[in-house]
Amino acid sequence: MALINKVLPGYVATLWMQDAVDPTPLTDAQLSTWTAQVANIIGTEAGGAGTDGMFVPVEAIPAFGADDASAAYSVAGARTGAKITTQNQVTSMTITAAWNSADAALLQIRADGYSGSTIRTYTIAVYDGTDTVAYSFNARVGGLQWDMSPSAEGKFIFTIHPVGGNSYGWSTNT
């Protein structure tokens, strides 16, 4: 595993997704598999192979991971209550992109949101110029909004909701 042994600027993160109109999302095992799976979605600009993925031009990558949750209970007579950590859902990501009405990736996301049923593999790639660490998950698109406030360029805002189960994985180039 060629892990990046540095503290990195947030700017190293990029968002990629499968480029097929009707994609076959990666399996749970494939989401953690770099070669021929995750690498194919990530472009060469971020250290991938770029054969069947496309770059999503978002402003910033929001926090990703899993939602926090715990079960709390108290016991009569005990000095404190207690918590048990529970594993919650994979975090949904609300993303803002500068809206370009001819951008292929944004149009695909608009189409996925219109469909409502398309499950697609998304990958966040962190790249230091040599090595890549990737976080991949399967998700549907919801919550499409366009914000045309005159104080800045038009924004396209959407939320990627991961599907359930173990549908995320970490991988890195070797």
Binding site: I4, K6, V7, L8, P9, Y11, V12, D128, G129, T130
Partner: protein, 138 residues
Amino acid sequence: MTTQNNPVNYAEAIQYQLANIVTPVPVYANFNRNFAKQPKFLTWQLRNIHQPVYTGGIQSNKGIDTPTFQISIFAQEMSDAFNLSDDILQSLHGYSGQFGGDDGFFIAKADVFWLYNSYDDELKLHQIFLDCTIYVPA
């Protein structure tokens, strides 16, 4: 855990990168003693090297570096100055990748602010000033 970058590496990389962008126009650090003879040239100054420090007695508990350098363009013809500024914007603004050639380092992003243009009547040179911030993994 973060390593401290050496400012001399920044200086060398900035000199290399700017010279590469505007070649064959000469590039100097701080000052050009031959300004009266050269119809156009660049100077640059580095500032704001600072990695944020975090809590505790471990010296390497730090964040990343985001140094800023100023680029000053000088030209006898106003259009030369504007075209040089365009060369820099096209090449550097938003750039991510190797910075400073093979001996340089990777930058996650370069962010250029085109500040203003001016004219020095004593030197008879048009001037354009830009600021560039680079985001360096450390």
